[in-house]
Symmetry: C2
DNA sequence: TAGATTGTTAATCGATTAACAATC
DNA sequence: TAGATTGTTAATCGATTAACAATC
């Protein structure tokens, strides 16, 4: 079975975005040297990445068909099937993500939110209800969701993750800035803003 | 000179968060096997990471002083000095990040926002003004900022990044889901939600 | 055909992991 | 002292890069 490294997986959406731009500009065929130049990766890496998801070879002297490549990447990334997610924590960040227009085209549909703040419960974000966290276990089975997106403070993240997994969540997307533990059967991705900032600050300091 | 890999830099804020939790619980000393168990990294890796930032050795049989380690990490990460940033794009995500309470304690201060939407210009987020994008060049020198945070749609990201760099931005934190090009003298970090989602979706599919 | 680009195989590089002597 | 944990040095692993023959 083919395996994909984390770094590699992260590159595919960037390729896809670029290819869609090319398609919109009317470009029909793309080569890896061309992509390499524009995206800042090496051409060998791009070739290898594309070979890994594509079942048909590129054409020497020309490259690859842009449209076919877009379709390949979209289905590989799951953009053509819908996955349902639930937002836990409807604060600024949680609400902003519910309003993020790109998730739908990536096949991710946020169907509801949960919060403990009485002022928020009963309200809506983008037409999706905000429920009370205390109803989580009862409501989860009806929502048909696979993923829980965690936008609560660090102090509560492990607690709500445990709850979500107990209810049946198979994937956790954590935006809280701390480490959380999950069983092996559950997929976890953490988007840690503090980690990103650390990389940026360090790079700035090195250049000074 | 010491060098730090990107992965390594990303771990430091996670260590710090955990150590602060320990300190709040009254724990005085921590060992790498203890951290390894809790955070899911190997103890060798944690030892190496901590050795890399710390100028004083740990104590065999005991470990390291929690408080000293926190201070070391905070100054390494720049949490004890203030860096100013400007938000470009005051939509849902941009506004949410301006409201994110943790940046201040990480030494990042967002001093103003820019947008092209007439309905937003002149308003405020958390007491910070939203200016017109057309005033960007004029206002930048007065803001004393180093970093531009990019929260505009993919179609406009390269354009506003070019503007920011021309005005004098030394660091770019990009939240748009596409690749952007910057000169070598500028630091760039991209927080790409599409990339994170790709890793999560793939992991979910593999487990099915 | 010549030349550009592909796919494959080998070499390099860097990060993580393992091994182990030193130390409190 | 014995035992746990450290720091250092070597081995492993995996990803990226380089080299090159195959092909349109």
């Amino acid at each position: 079975m083919k395996t994909y490294s984390k770094n590699q997986l992260q590159r595919y959406p960037i390729y896809l975005k670029y290819l869609k731009k090319l398609e919109a500009e009317g470009v029909k065929v793309v080569s890896s040297p061309m992509m390499a130049k524009e995206l800042g990766y090496s051409e060998e890496q791009i070739r290898k990445d594309l070979q890994n998801v594509s079942d048909r070879p590129g054409r020497p002297h020309k490259g690859r068909d842009v449209h076919v490549l877009i379709e390949t990447l979209e289905s590989f990334l799951g953009y053509r099937t819908s996955t349902k997610a639930v937002m836990i924590g409807a604060g600024h960040l949680g609400a902003a993500l519910m309003n993020y227009p790109n998730f739908e085209e990536m096949g991710l549909s946020i169907v509801a939110a949960f919060d403990t703040d009485p002022a928020k419960i009963g309200a809506e974000v983008r037409g999706k209800a905000i429920y009370s966290m205390s109803d989580f276990e009862t409501l989860w089975p009806h929502l048909d969701a696979e993923i829980a997106i965690i936008c609560v403070p660090a102090e509560e993240s492990q607690k709500v993750v445990d709850l979500a997994i107990k209810a049946g969540a198979k994937g956790i997307w954590n935006f809280a800035p701390n480490h959380i533990n999950v069983p092996k059967s559950v997929s976890l991705v953490t988007t840690n803003l503090a980690s990103s900032l650390a990389v940026l600050s360090h790079s700035l300091n090195v250049k000074k």
